[in-house]
Subunit: 211 residues, 2 copies
């Protein structure tokens, strides 16, 4: 069990209707140690992948995106959400359905902040049906940029987002993948994740040092 | 001129109607170097002040709050905004008028994340009339906590927020205070800020070392 799975079991609360509340450490109160460890874990999992921008969507992705931007020393951009479509002339705009708020949102980024040279690591706190992730991918593609990968704190493995994105060829790294959870017994089971071993050869080629 | 004033002059854009756009580095795209430097500057200005929680309001305060939480190694809480008032039983709720969105918002924090032992450093990207800051203060007071101070990136010095908060006795530290700006000539003048000298005596007593 990794640090985030352990934290979810300790401090997460399962609510009726397949809802996992993690607002004591992830998306209302922020546990800085957990956030920092997530940033390091994403950097490890995306080792060797070129990244020059971190992208997320307001509001709860911003904390992890900021610490990851700090670690990579690259700019962070957060897409904004709005019910109303403003003038489109200087923005890339996509749409995403919010299950939390049960409405369709416009998701947008001002054009100067995404461009064709960008190698974008997308990060977010949750992945369920992949609505937000797909709208972020759409925005990067509109700008002609490239998706370096998708880093997720908690993936709801029974919903289609993760499977769809992986079948589309994206490297999706979710620190915790929930395979099932049960409100009545308050139990969660996580999908086992293969530990990626970093071989000495890889380390050597990445860092150019002898071991 | 400090680093943020310089950045505002270089990359900020003055729009008609007393609007300063800083979304290339502060509240849409995030310049990590500037954010990190702000965090260090707040820590310097609030030296000697006890802080065990960082509080901000979604969404654009989250990045600076996260880096400050990282520096202090304390939890970060971001208050949420909503037009509709949900059940009040487990939340502290206040109200704030948003000039950006021209509407009254409910601002709330779940009760477990604020309490009477909290010494709260409030941070935000902008201070204008002080609506958001006062609603955050209200939430902390409802919980019985204490305000350690208020750290602001950019204060609009011609609006009443800063003066009101200081007259109420709060330590307000704004890294850049705009005294006037002119759309037609694209000029900004900043309020001179006394450099706070940290005397050797203070350093000695803070760090317990001889200099």
């Amino acid at each position: 069990m990794n640090f985030l799975e352990e934290k979810i079991l300790t401090d997460g609360v399962i609510k009726e209707g397949n809802i996992l509340k993690v607002d004591s450490f992830l998306n209302h109160q922020i546990d800085i140690d957990i956030m920092r460890q997530m940033a390091y874990e994403f950097k490890r999992r995306f080792r060797g992948v070129e990244v020059n921008k971190i992208l997320t969507i307001e509001a709860s992705g911003i904390a992890i995106a900021t610490l990851l931007g700090d670690l990579y020393d690259v700019p962070v951009v957060f897409a904004k959400k709005s019910e109303t479509a403003n003038s489109t002339d200087d923005k890339y705009i996509s749409k995403a359905y919010s299950f939390t708020h049960k409405k369709m949102n416009n998701v947008f980024i001002s054009k100067p902040y995404l461009n064709a040279e960008d190698k974008v690591l997308i990060v977010d706190d949750f992945l369920a049906d992949g609505e937000a992730a797909h709208s972020l991918i759409d925005l990067v593609k509109q700008a002609g940029g490239r998706i370096a990968g998708i880093g997720i704190a908690i993936e709801k493995g029974q919903q289609k987002g993760g499977a769809t994105l992986r079948s589309e060829g994206y490297q999706v790294e979710s620190i915790a993948i929930i395979d099932s959870m049960d409100w009545e017994t308050q139990t969660i089971s996580f999908r086992p994740q293969a530990q990626k071993e970093i071989s000495k050869t890889n380390l050597k080629s990445t860092h150019g040092i002898n071991l």
